[in-house]
Amino acid sequence: MASPSLMETLFQRGLDDIIKGVRHQQSSTESIFISRVIEEIRREIKSTDLQTKSTALQKLTYLNSIHFIDMSWASFHAIECISSPAFSHKKIGYLAISQSFSESTPVILLISNQLRKDLKSGNEFEVSLALDCLSRIGTVDLCRDLASEVFILMSSSKVFIRKKAIGVVLRLFEKYPDAVRVCFKKLVESLEGSDSPIVSAVVGVFCELSAKDPRSYLPLAPEFYRILVDSKNNWVLIKVLKIFVKLAPLEPRLAKRLVEPICDHMRKTGAKSLVFECIRTVVTSFTEYESAMKLAAAKIREFLMEDDPNLKYLGLHAISIMAPKHLWAVLENKDVVIQSLSDEDPNIKLESLRLVMAMASESNLMETCRVLVNYALKSDPDFCNEILGSILSTCCQNVYEVIIDFDWYVSLLGEMSRIPNCKKGEEIENQLIDIGMRVKDVRPELVRIARDLLIDPALLGNPFLHRLLSAAAWVCGEYVEFSRNPVELMEALLQPRTSLLPSSIRTVYMQSAFKILIFCMHSYFLQKEDMTSEVSDLASKRECSESSDLATGKALVQSDQDEGFNPRESNQSFEYPSVVDTGDGQSSTPTFMEKKSLMHESIVNLLNLMELVLSPLSGSLDVEIQERACNVLGFIELVQQEFSNPLIQKEANLDREEVIASRVVEWVHDGFTEELGPVSVTAQDRVPIPDELVLKENLTDLEAICGGVELPAPGSFSLTSPYYGESAVFSVSNLQAEEDSEPSTESTSLLTEHRKRHELYYLPSEKNKIPANDYPPANDPSSSINTNDATEDLVKLADQSLVSKRKPNHAKPRPVVVKLEEGEAAPVVSKKPELKDDLLSGAIHDILLGNEAKAASSQSNPFDKSSSKRKGKAKHVDLLDSKENLAVGEQPNHENPSSRRSKHRGDGKQKSKKSKGKKNGDGREDDGEKESQKIRDHHGRHKSRQRADAPINVVPQTPDIPDYLL
């Protein structure tokens, strides 16, 4: 009868056998071995003998936790094991459960009864197993069912059970917030004492709870304060400090109390972990306390001087927390920071990079960036991009606050995009466009940089740079009037390798090419008009033929037919805009605008080129590309007839025709030259809603259409990318006529009206002259020093930034950077707290205030205290007044504790305070007084040098803190 199970038991392989077996397998046979073992286990686990079953379960648990074998099928067997009377089976069962159960395990509710039984067991070890298990797998249902058992265990006589029960409370509160009503009071009581493991556990629980919702735990501040002062356990102290970091911002008066004991710990303790926690607490929460900051900085310095990379890293990290408000801390440690830039450890390198950028200022920015870019060239791809990213983000802070010389910065952007590992195309893209719109003076340089990027066919092969190229293309199209050679730009935009670009960016290229075409034609007509008004037809004809003799190449064929076009300065030798040769010496050519020489045939060539490139695209599968190609081709067709066959047509006829063409071109050109100003993100909100506008009507069917459209990321600008931006502005105010139609008078009047109202946000309308570029480019090879040794370089830089605090005299003033005041503030993201949290904090509030109510009613106070604090504040103005007066009166006595004490203890004042608050705050005051007296005594006992009235200032006058604890 018992023999089969006996046989099984005797010949069952134990855990050790399995472990040995797995170890002896080759990696190839391991999985076969394991699957054999699993089969074996499946058989054994069905055994009625619990010994066999539990051994099988143990083996399975092993395979699950080390080899990730699924064991969810064995959940029920695990439950059978924990219901065994034998402790060894129970233990194996609990281990299996806590390793493998999750909320979705179907049988999880079955263990509820067994857990309750074990929680009530007389054997404390069984209790502890059950508690461990509950802390790991507790679900909402389990926590609800077992909350009362856990509560009873919180007052167990065994310390280690009590401690575990407190640990479980964390899970309990998380899953079943109502448990707070039962357990919270007990939890708070457990805070008494200072060094027992119980306190350690409770503080741990509060540390985690307060991370989620600190405000609810503010009333416990005095308790935590006492632990901070009394405890000798470093881990407890660290946790308490973490709690105070959360509480300090909510209650400004806490800081004054806390600074002294924290500094004390920092000075005395030998434990680095505690020192670090103190440092972090001070640098995050107590930045106004100069002496504490000094002490923290000294400790950080000690960390940095150690060889231990951990301490070095944490030291740098702490400095970077200080950096925004206390730059001196960074400057003091500059040597270490700079050296760390070449540390082995990527974490350390990153921190030091952050600090180097924190040190960057107007005066040393150029130098810093130059060195860093050189350093980036030599570092590994990841760090290279970190460097580039931090340069970009530092420079664009507060609308390019640190940048004075934008020409330099734009060329730096160009340089950065040529670094082989650069993956920051998108960021550079945004900045190029942003700068183009904000800084008028930099546009010529911007166009030059963009041109250099566009004509480089190698860049088209790097997909990370595609976004950047789209910005370059947009810049070239938008600011083509600053270009020296639009024809060259056009060719760059239409080069064959653009087929490598994604379609969205290709469309930008096409649109830009179109803009350039319009610009060229427009200036051509402009010249012609000028010319016709000045010179007689005949003369011009002669001159023209003369000039065309100078021309070479295929253009010569058409030069004879160059009807009635001649540049004004045709008597001087001009350079023929090259169609074929793109590499034509850029630097030597005068700017296009000055030259104003655009031949008829070059326009024809442009048209032909565009037609050639775009006609295959009119059949493109991509809608955007196809659309634009067709638009441009249509336009070309319209004007081409008039341009290409001048021979056939009679002169007079031609003139008339060209007038029509020129009119069209002028319209389009007007559309394109209408400047896109930066638009504040809040601009639309400021437009008053007209009365007749129906906004409430439900447009749900629209939602289906627009569902896919995402809102732009909340940046400083609504115009972040060219195509997006254009369409965005369009929808708002029809700023620009994209197609060949004149903007309707209505919209223009609207526009002018808008402009009148928000003049501030528009760029000035008059054209800027091109400023003389009279300072050397940033990467002038003659001025760049040998950068073989980057660190040496950096140290030099460090010295520089230390010495050169004076402002360098700049060759020219910083150009105007357009800012939008309101628009810059990122929209407030309303963070909706989780429901659970709400429940939890709500429950805790209820508990705290409920207790208060009890205390109040026991004092037979007619006023109810159970109303929320806020309400109390609003109603009991007198009470609050008295308190505020007290707080204000305190200020002058700031450094004189004795006088303050006398104030508090002085009968008269005390009385007056009481009588003021008599009406409604009686109970509260009494309570507070009693409690604070208690704490005072307590402190007197423990630490005589502690100010006797320590918490009294922190707490009793704090309207935020209910009194039952004080």
Binding site: D16, N64, S102, N123, K163, S273, P309, Y313, D345
Partner: protein
């Protein structure tokens, strides 16, 4: 694989998991305090055991990993690793790891990797006495050892009672 689940820090657990990984990347112990599915678990281990043992000895003991902080320390050929949220006290974690190792050392008597391989369940029980719900609960080494030993003796007596041979031997002698 839903990693977003991992990144939602909805569970209030200070330590998300504890790992013991050998230099060859073999897992010796894995305790999970935050909920991870089996696939996630093996992925976590694959990733971390690719990162941690490859870090040089002179680097610091903290690794940024998926928005979390993995703190590790090497003892002989074994890496003890704990994962916490960003901004936790890394030095404290190192202390906890050391505390755990000291207790293991005392319990096994100069612990070595083999001890942990063959007593994997005991390592779990010891860890359970030190951490509960991902929170340090006992900082006294001696009391941890005392508790674990008490557990052991309970298991022994239970085993003796349950052992079919010892039950049957008296019957056979009668």
């Amino acid at each position: 694989m839903v990693w977003s689940d991992l990144l939602i820090k909805e569970h209030i657990v200070p330590i998300h998991f504890v790992l013991l990984v050998s230099r060859q990347g073999k897992v010796r112990l894995a305790k999970w305090y935050s909920p991870y599915t089996l696939r996630e678990r093996s992925k976590v281990i694959r990733e971390l055991s690719g990162i941690i043992p490859n870090r040089g000895p002179k680097l610091c003991n903290f690794v940024e990993w998926r928005g979390f902080r993995a703190v590790y320390r090497r003892y002989a050929g074994l890496y003890f690793c704990m994962c916490v949220d960003e901004g936790d006290n890394e030095l404290e974690l190192l202390d906890i790891i050391h505390h755990f190792v000291e207790i293991l050392d005392r319990y096994f008597g100069s612990v070595c990797e083999l001890d942990l391989i063959f007593n994997f369940h005991k390592a779990y029980y010891i860890l359970d006495e030190i951490l509960i719900a991902g929170e340090v609960q006992e900082s006294n080494k001696r009391s941890v050892i005392r508790l674990v030993r008490a557990h052991d003796s309970l298991v022994e007596t239970a085993k003796e009672q349950a052992n079919p041979l010892s039950n049957m031997l008296p019957q056979a002698t009668i």
